[in-house]
């Protein structure tokens, strides 16, 4: 009888070492420098542009880039895109290897970190020659600055909103909420939906897992998440927010813990699109994607108020920066300029990222928009009057709090921790992350 004794298990152990450790180190090796662009200065320049998002966003972005290449025959643009979850990992790996894409989309949560680590080029020397920022709102432009220097330019503006499924709302005979409503209005309204649909639909997706929802909550209560690069909210603030969202969940107005746990940022898994909830908290930049995912009619409603304040603000997003190691910084900046100013780019991009940066072009588009895009423009226009000032870019580690919010609130939703306990735990861990 064959007795596979000593040898194989040890080989298996070796294989374990290999796989566990190789997994880690795989990304650490210094990759060979990209030497494809050996053509030099006189000939054609090939630059790379990277962003995150889905296939629909990629399609419109590629259309815009084709227009750019047509008007700049000496520049070829290579593109890279991936889902948001994988994007940062990819860019960080490339940055570590010294071959970050020439024009790179940077999330606001890491904007300062990238700039301070010297990964991005100071764009001031290209202003106003190559990069014209005069057509953009001044405070919007300023949001791309780190330590007073223009390292990035936001490619889009979005706003917080409650997305509502009008078709289902009508079928239940529940009226659409009016701007200026309060959180207790929301609780009653959402409860009404759950009751009238006999539990088939929840009124609203429990917003307790959402870091940006808490951000607006803090602002409307006269506070902020951060001040001077440190945490400015207290455990009591967070417990207050979570007490409210828990009351939604317990009354049946908000989604159950299990259903909330399925939310992972992919449109396919949204309770709103799966027909389990009638409303949810979100950014208006996702509205077009949501509209495409359902045959129902959707609309946007402004956030509930506290003392008349919504806590909403114009959120600059998708910061565009030029790599500090780029061989063709001027050409990359030309593409940046095209993406924030050109009417042709604006037409191609639509509202796939939010509102277009150049104000004049934005207005032209708004007047001719139809369908979901028109809903977004109308929503932004209706709310532009009473917005709170845009907070400064968050300190390093903010993206970790975003995922921690989801994780810790799940423990509240499943009854493992009380809101107060969870909030205390969150704040103590957050201090360790942000203080670093």
């Amino acid at each position: 009888m064959r007795t596979p004794r000593i040898r194989l298990p040890w080989q298996a152990a070796l294989a374990l070492m290999a796989s566990v450790v190789a997994l880690l180190a795989a990304a650490c090796g210094s990759g060979p420098a990209a030497s494809s662009a050996a053509a030099g200065g006189s000939g054609k320049a090939t630059i790379t542009f990277a962003w995150w998002g889905d296939a629909a966003r990629a399609k419109v972005t590629l259309a815009a880039i084709r227009l750019f290449e047509k008007s700049h025959p000496d520049i070829t643009v290579k593109t890279e895109y991936s889902p948001f979850g994988d994007y940062e990992q990819k860019i960080n790996t490339q940055a570590a290897g010294g071959n970050m894409p020439d024009l790179v989309t940077v999330d606001r949560s890491v904007q300062n970190e990238y700039a301070q680590r010297g990964l991005l080029l100071d764009l001031d020397k290209y202003v106003p020659g190559t990069l014209n920022l005069s057509g953009l709102d001044a405070s919007f432009v300023a949001s791309g600055k780190t330590d007073g220097k223009q390292y990035t330019v936001p490619m889009a503006q979005n706003m917080q909103a409650i997305v509502v499924d009008v078709t289902r709302l009508k079928s239940l005979g529940v009226p659409l909420p009016k701007p200026g409503w309060t959180w207790s209005d929301l609780a009653a309204w959402a409860k009404e939906i759950t009751t009238r649909s006999h539990g088939r639909w929840y009124g609203i997706v429990d917003p307790g897992t959402l870091w940006p929802a808490f951000n607006s909550w803090e602002i409307q209560h006269g506070k902020s998440l951060y001040a001077n690069g440190k945490i400015a909210f207290t455990a009591a603030d967070l417990a207050g927010f979570w007490n409210f969202t828990s009351s939604l969940r317990r009354s049946g107005a908000g989604t159950s813990a299990q259903l909330t746990a399925t939310v992972d940022g992919l449109p396919d898994d949204e309770p709103l699109l799966k027909g389990r909830a009638v409303a949810e908290w979100d950014y208006d930049s996702l509205f077009q994607m949501y509209s495409a995912g359902t045959s129902d009619k959707l609309t946007l409603v402004s956030l509930p108020t506290v003392g008349g304040k919504t806590g909403m603000f114009a959120q600059p997003s998708m910061m565009l920066g030029v790599s500090a190691t780029s061989k063709y910084p001027k050409q990359a900046t030309e593409l940046l300029n095209f993406l924030v100013n050109s009417p042709a780019a604006a037409r191609a991009l639509g509202t796939s990222r939010g509102l277009f940066p150049n104000l004049k072009v934005r207005q032209q588009l708004a007047s001719s928009a139809t369908g979901p895009a028109k809903t977004v423009y109308d929503y932004e226009a209706a709310n532009s009057g009473d917005l709170s000032p845009t907070p400064a870019a968050p300190p390093k580690g903010d993206n970790q709090l975003l995922t921690m919010m989801q994780r810790v609130y799940q423990q509240v939703a499943f009854g493992q921790l009380s809101p107060a306990q969870a909030a205390a735990q969150f704040v103590s861990q957050a201090k360790g992350i942000i203080g670093q």
């Binding site: 009888m1 064959r2 007795t3 596979p4 004794r5 000593i6 194989l8 298990p9 040890w10 298996a12 152990a13 374990l16 070492m17 290999a18 796989s19 566990v20 450790v21 190789a22 997994l23 880690l24 180190a25 795989a26 990304a27 650490c28 090796g29 979850g85 990992q89 960080n92 790996t93 940055a95 570590a96 970190e113 990238y114 680590r117 990964l119 813990a257 299990q258 259903l259 746990a261 399925t262 992972d264 389990r276 970790q400 995922t403 989801q406 994780r407 799940q410 423990q411 939703a413 499943f414 493992q416």
Partner: protein, 333 residues
């Protein structure tokens, strides 16, 4: 005549030395001694052919491993050069990171339940399939299929929809009056759906058990039957001891594999180890620390602790094996 000389003589000879066709048969069996020098050159050829593999091993396995050992003593964020911190990563694991200990508990639970469950099922099915019946071959293939699919992303996705909200599992169980929930989205059940997924992939150990069962001499059973031993007794007194080396082999292999489980939890929890950290496998937390939080030093330290722990478990199993594993061919226990 030594066997070795005979075997060497059967090697094809270089053309020049090849005997005439008629003489070939006469030469077979005549002990010849291959010149020492030639054996060395053929060995060398073997090593030459192994060079690509060795290069791969050094470049993509050993090199990164050593680098990760170095990283485990640093704080490396990918954007900043590694900075030596001594044992700080290891201290943090056991003193100030509650999630680390959570992940250890989840992993140990998973290993402790899924491995025995998988092996028991594999052994039972193997015993059933060991009898000669019509269609046995078909059944063997059918039972093996889940293992072929097992590690893949697609099965984890299928699992997600089976045990997800309003999934098939929920519907079938509610017919039986069990009104559950979304199994994978409830922290009380999520880990156990992963255990079921693992146990379902019993094909590989089953095939090995089958091979082992075939090797047990039939006369042992015949003798036992003559002595009046019933089926149950024969199983425990003959099958299990005779199969113990194979059981041991499967145990070690599955244990090492279970510690490394990653894909199903990653897919089913959307990479978060949720809900509420209930499926936070060690590997998943390691991945999160490395590739979401960019704490590569800490993640490397975790990887090495994992290696040590798995090595320790394996060594322990080998120690214990002396007590219960019976090798019929060597005659000792």
């Amino acid at each position: 005549m030594s066997t070795r000389g005979w075997v060497l003589a059967r090697r094809p000879l270089p053309l020049a030395e090849r005997p005439a066709p008629g003489a070939a048969r006469a030469r077979v069996g005549i002990p010849t001694r291959a010149p020492r020098r030639r054996r060395n050159t053929s060995d060398r050829a073997g090593y030459v052919f192994l060079i690509p593999w060795f290069a791969g091993l050094a470049l993509f396995t050993l090199g990164p491993m050593l680098f990760s050992l170095y990283l485990s003593f640093t704080n490396y964020t990918l954007l900043q050069a590694p900075h030596w911190v001594g044992l700080a990563n290891f201290r943090r694991m056991f003193s100030s990171d509650p999630r680390y200990l959570d992940s250890v508990i989840v992993t140990v639970k998973y290993v402790a339940v899924s491995v025995p469950a998988k092996l028991v099922i594999a052994l039972l099915i193997a015993v059933l399939l060991n009898r000669q019946r019509r269609g046995t071959g078909l059944y063997r293939s059918v039972f093996y299929v889940p293992s072929l699919l097992g590690a893949s992303v697609s099965v984890a996705l299928v699992w997600r929809s089976l045990f997800g909200p309003a999934g098939a599992a929920d519907k079938v169980l509610s017919l039986a009056g069990i009104h559950g929930t979304a199994w994978i989205d409830d922290p009380r059940w999520a880990l156990w759906t992963l255990v079921v997924l693992a146990a379902w992939q019993f094909g590989a150990p089953m095939v090995i058990f089958l091979a082992g069962l075939k090797q047990i001499p039939g006369d042992l059973y015949d003798a036992a039957a003559v002595d009046g031993a019933n089926r149950w007794r024969r199983f425990w007194r003959i099958t299990v001891p005779m199969l113990s080396p194979v059981i041991f082999f499967n145990l070690v292999l599955e244990l090492v594999g279970a510690f490394q489980a990653f894909t199903p939890a990653y897919i089913i929890s959307g990479g978060t180890g949720g809900p509420a950290d209930s499926t936070l496998f060690y590997t998943l937390y390691l991945y999160e620390k490395g590739f979401s939080d960019f704490q590569f030093g800490y993640a490397s330290a975790m990887a090495w602790i994992m290696l040590a722990a798995v090595g320790l478990c394996t060594a322990l199993l080998f120690r214990l094996a002396r007590v219960w594993v019976f090798y019929a061919d060597t005659g000792d226990r």
